[in-house]
Symmetry: C2
Subunit: 409 residues, 2 copies
């Protein structure tokens, strides 16, 4: 078996997690790993050796990794601000790349990604694992089958209590490396839109017959992190950072309007106490799904005068009928986050192996990431609507080369 040779740039907690998953794949070889910090590189080499029995090359300069000819694909799992720059370097080096999720800091970066893709024709992907979640894929499957009728509105959120990580150094033996804290100190925007937007964008055919036209974004006040630091829980092996003036509002609400008139509401909710939710909702003329109680409501099957509580959790009853092919017979213990990570990574490797387009392509990545900087603009202007660029420049109107295969979205 010819193993596909890849490199990994960015070896923090997330990068090492993905690396361990990849190391266990028999058809993939991790040729090199790279991080700015040597201790992470050393840790990673040892980890791959432990899992796969071989030692990858360890590097601290990503250009050295890109100079390794045999590497075909690169996983970029660095801090948010380097994702686009590194993927541009990958494209220029002729290597497929897949970036972890995050948002953009300027529209120019999104345009640069698209421009470089069009110049090089080397595909890029975002590792948006939530596009491969069971419920997200099931809803996509049902929408494509017409079960929802016309989809009119979707909602989503990244609603995840991150207060501890944002305000504490959890590796107190060394400098604080967790970069998100600085984001919350200095910015005010939906800094993490793609977990919720990605699956919705596929449901609404964004960049393939539809597009996002404009958005409005509103930020609540920022109270959560200071309140947390005023009374921090005692958690072993972590040191609270000094309180700061946090600019990041606790709740960011963004409403996007699409060319065909559908609306999308996204919520960022990461600095208040709560259980995790992606707050996923799909509303069509024939059916509805609400993640917060995991219930489907289908015209003709359910009756709106029933007590909704009787249908909470009913999504599982529909797995057999409507599961997406990717989830039929799939063992989710193969990868993190309930199995999504594995499917997502395999989708990338499938494109690398077949030298075909990626299922989340440069236009998707640019438009999804642009929501961060555009929400920042809208908030800065007191909620003024801002237009969302058409990164395809008209190509969304026609069919074009897209990924086809098992991992199609």
């Amino acid at each position: 078996m010819q193993r596909t040779k890849i490199g990994i740039i960015g070896l923090g907690g997330r990068g090492r997690g993905l690396m361990s998953m990849i190391a266990a794949m028999e058809d993939i070889e991790i040729v090199a790993v790279c991080d700015l910090w040597q201790d992470r590189v050393d840790l990673s080499i040892a980890k791959v050796k432990e899992i796969a029995g071989y030692e990858p090359i360890g590097l601290t300069n990503h250009h050295d990794l890109l100079n390794i000819d045999e590497i075909e694909g690169v996983v970029v799992s660095t801090s948010w601000k380097d994702h686009i720059k590194l993927c541009i370097d990958c494209m220029k080096a002729g290597k497929y790349s897949a970036m972890e999720v995050g948002g953009a800091y300027a529209l120019e970066d999104c345009w640069a990604l698209v421009r470089t893709y069009e110049e090089t024709r080397v595909p890029v992907m975002m590792l948006e694992n939530c596009n491969f979640g069971r419920e997200e894929l099931m809803m996509l499957n049902m929408v494509r089958q017409g079960i929802f009728g016309e989809v009119v509105h979707c909602q989503g959120g990244y609603r995840h209590d991150l207060r501890h990580g944002l305000t504490h150094n959890r590796e107190p033996e060394r400098e604080m490396r967790h970069y998100r804290s600085g984001e919350y100190h200095n910015r005010n925007c939906d800094n993490y839109p793609t977990h919720d937007l990605g699956p919705i964008a596929k449901i609404l055919d964004i960049n393939r017959g539809n597009r996002m036209m404009k958005l409005v974004s509103t930020a609540s006040r920022a109270s959560g992190l200071s309140a947390y630091l005023a009374n921090p829980p005692a958690i072993e092996n972590s040191v609270p950072l000094p309180d700061r003036r946090w600019l990041q509002g606790d709740i960011i609400t963004t409403t996007i309007t699409c060319a065909h008139g559908q609306t999308i509401t996204l919520v960022l909710d990461t600095s208040l106490p709560r259980p995790y939710s992606r707050n996923f909702q799909v509303h069509g003329t024939r059916a509805m799904y609400v993640e917060d109680n995991r219930s489907l409501f289908i015209e003709g099957v359910h009756n709106h005068e029933e007590d909704w509580r009787d249908n909470w959790g009913n999504v599982e009853k529909f797995y057999e009928q409507y599961d997406h092919p990717m989830w039929r017979g799939y063992d989710p213990s193969k990868g993190g986050h309930g199995g999504m990570d594995y499917l997502c990574m395999r989708a990338f490797f499938d494109a690398v192996k077949r030298r075909c387009p990626t299922p989340i392509d440069a236009y998707d990545v640019a438009s999804w990431m642009s929501i961060t900087t555009l929400s920042e603009d809208s908030i800065a202007m007191g909620g003024h609507p801002v237009t969302i660029p058409d990164f395809t420049r008209g190509e969304w109107l026609r069919s074009r080369d897209v990924y086809e295969g098992f991992y199609a979205l």
Copy 2:
């Protein structure tokens, strides 16, 4: 016992429902009932006779009702567009009035309500029954006790499948009297904001130390009613209306920002298939409530790493500890909509009897109803933010005469 004498203007389905509830109250006498349609008047007289044993005066001109000296309070349950006009007439006649819920058509109407109140000093109230819901009052109680810490964000919605009533004449033996259909044909706004906004406004101390500053509103396309009429269900004794060009978007999302930086998201969702929900959410620095799975999450009590599903429905476990005094020992079978209607009506009658301010006063009514016309403006301008007037003109900064007593909100 001296019975409090009241009149009722507006005897459609809702008006007659309230009338029947009031007729059963031993301390209240319905002196007169009034509607533009004589058949409703006749039906109402017979109904009061049946329940209470006496016959109210039947009228078709509301001025005749306001000329009856002994009437102290008036319930206005007409179509939305007449609520403010009729309550203004009540104030001018020196009679307490309580209007059913609805939205405004112009800011001028909201100002006229406030202006007339300030000229006459005759209190007015909105019968916002949802302000008296068990969970809504419980959250208010918990917020006032500090359980939520600082409240940063609230959400709510009127999410109710109204498609049948909007597209069918359910009294086919006579002309279509259900006026909402015309609203959906000709307007595009959050036409019904107060069920969700009312309880939130009290939680956030709106008009009493805080105020609503601005909003942005976005409408989805309008697909639900035409899709429904293309394939209408066979329901006895109802005739479908012809399909029309519906301007009302299926989902309206409005985000309000308050003076103290809290945000409020409201959703109108009345023309797609779904179970009923008011989508109520409260997010604070110490706790959270989500109606869609009826769960409370309290810092120190719950752990965000638990499976949220284990806490679905847990609100009931907290009734004993946190129920609002109005709900302690209360038998909700006393009034419609799970008991809210009775408490709300008693709150009005308590103010009438004691000649004191109402718990939802002229400033509340004006500001809550203004959201409809302001959302219409924002949508018309493509989502542009619009400012929300301070109907108190600075009085929200200081304490002023408010209702005090058992039904205080």
